[in-house]
């Protein structure tokens, strides 16, 4: 198949997304990337699980149904081996998948599985975390390694959670917001990575 050697490990788009060639993206037409997002090798995103019933179908009229399965904001970082899949549930007696919405500056650690309904901005998810179906994670949340977030859990802003099942163990200290910034991490991967500023 390959006519020439691959030009680099990552595909870099015009909007600054860096997508590894070895990532598995299923149903790419239903995955929205906000820009400057890094998708590392072995990441799996299930874009084929789209919602089957539309909310308030009468009011939308002739508008085309939205088929976005996963929407990701800017400066997100999906580490090696993590998996994003839209959550599913029974709605009015019919099974449907819901859109997985992720804000900006969200870090997902290696080997984590995310099936949340929505994740706010500036969220840090550690390694080997399982985020259950239809969980809602607000802004500035830190989830430590190995946490199991149960289905339908709502995590308030500025909290630190850990444990199996996840419990609130603390708050993000004042002035600790800069640690969530992922602009520098974005520069350290890609086809010509730059070393992280010390």
């Amino acid at each position: 198949m390959s006519r020439r050697p691959p030009r680099g490990e990552y595909i870099e788009t015009d909007t600054g997304n860096k997508v590894a060639r070895k990532a598995t993206l299923v149903g790419t037409q239903n995955i929205m990337l906000g820009g400057k997002t890094v998708i590392m090798p072995d990441v799996m995103i299930r874009g084929d699980l789209i919602r089957t019933i539309q909310p308030s179908s009468q009011s939308t009229g002739g508008a085309p149904p939205s088929t976005t399965a996963v929407s990701i904001g800017r400066y997100c970082f999906l580490s090696r081996g993590c998996c994003l899949r839209p959550p599913g549930r029974l709605y009015k007696g019919v099974f449907t998948y819901m859109t997985l919405r992720i804000g900006d500056h969200v870090f997902v650690g290696p080997g984590s599985v995310v099936q949340a309904a929505s994740i706010g901005s500036h969220v840090h998810i550690g390694a080997k975390v399982s985020v259950g179906e239809l969980a809602i994670i607000k802004d500035y949340v830190r989830i430590l390694d190995g946490t199991v977030v149960p289905p339908n859990m709502v995590i308030p802003s500025f909290s630190i959670v850990a444990g199996q099942p996840a419990r609130l163990i603390g708050e993000v200290p004042e002035g600790g917001h800069e640690a969530f910034e992922l602009r520098n991490l974005y520069k350290t991967v890609g086809n010509n990575p730059q070393p992280a500023p010390s």
């Binding site: 598995t24 699980l49 998996c83 998948y97 399982s130 199996q164």
Partner: protein, 192 residues
């Protein structure tokens, strides 16, 4: 599904192609991986997601009716024992194996209606009862017997599920399978 681009990567599937016994009503994704030498049987209306791995190198695999095997789940992983048995892994009806879970080979039996959570691991020869729930990242030791209706937590705690919602759960799963059949392009001919 119209823009079909071909990957430059070599195909993931490696090793021998196992003999398969598929029901005509199953849904199996194109990128599922089936390897091994022993037969793999999948009964009616079951769903196998992309990149799920079914390995029959250590014995026969049987997947019951209306089961769902999610992506990256492994059935028949060669565990520590590595011995070849008659029936490596047997899944009952209505079994859900979630993302990244691994079920080791060696007379392992999962009972009807059981949910194996995200990233859980079931050791070789373990027998899980009916309608059990293994929460994410649970580890079941090799040869362990888990009674019916047990909920196993990842910190080792256990309790009995007395809610009596087994019937409802099965109904919900049937609805989910109906949706998945329309979403996952099935290609059983590839494995035949």
């Amino acid at each position: 599904m119209s823009s079909k681009r071909h990957s430059i990567l070599p195909p993931v599937s490696s090793g021998p192609k196992p003999p398969v016994h598929f029901s005509s009503s199953i849904t199996i994704a194109d990128s599922a991986v089936l390897t091994g030498t022993h037969p793999i049987a999948i009964h009616s209306e079951s769903v196998v997601h992309p990149r799920a791995r079914l390995d029959s190198l250590a014995g026969r695999l049987t997947v019951g009716r209306r089961c769902v095997v999610h992506e990256r789940a492994t059935l028949g992983a060669i565990g520590t024992s590595g011995r070849i048995t008659e029936a490596a892994v047997t899944l009952g009806d209505y079994v859900v194996v979630e993302v990244g879970a691994a079920i080791e080979a060696g007379e392992t039996v999962i009972g009807e209606g059981t949910v194996v959570g995200v990233g859980a691991r079931v050791g070789a020869g373990a027998v899980i009862g009916k309608h059990c729930t293994l929460t994410p990242h649970t580890e079941i030791a090799a040869g362990e017997v888990v009674p019916d209706f047990t909920v196993v937590f990842s910190n080792g705690m256990r309790r009995t599920d007395k809610r009596g919602v087994a019937e409802l759960k099965n109904k919900g799963l049937a609805r989910q399978i109906d949706v998945l059949r329309r979403m996952i392009p099935s290609n059983p001919a590839k494995f035949a």
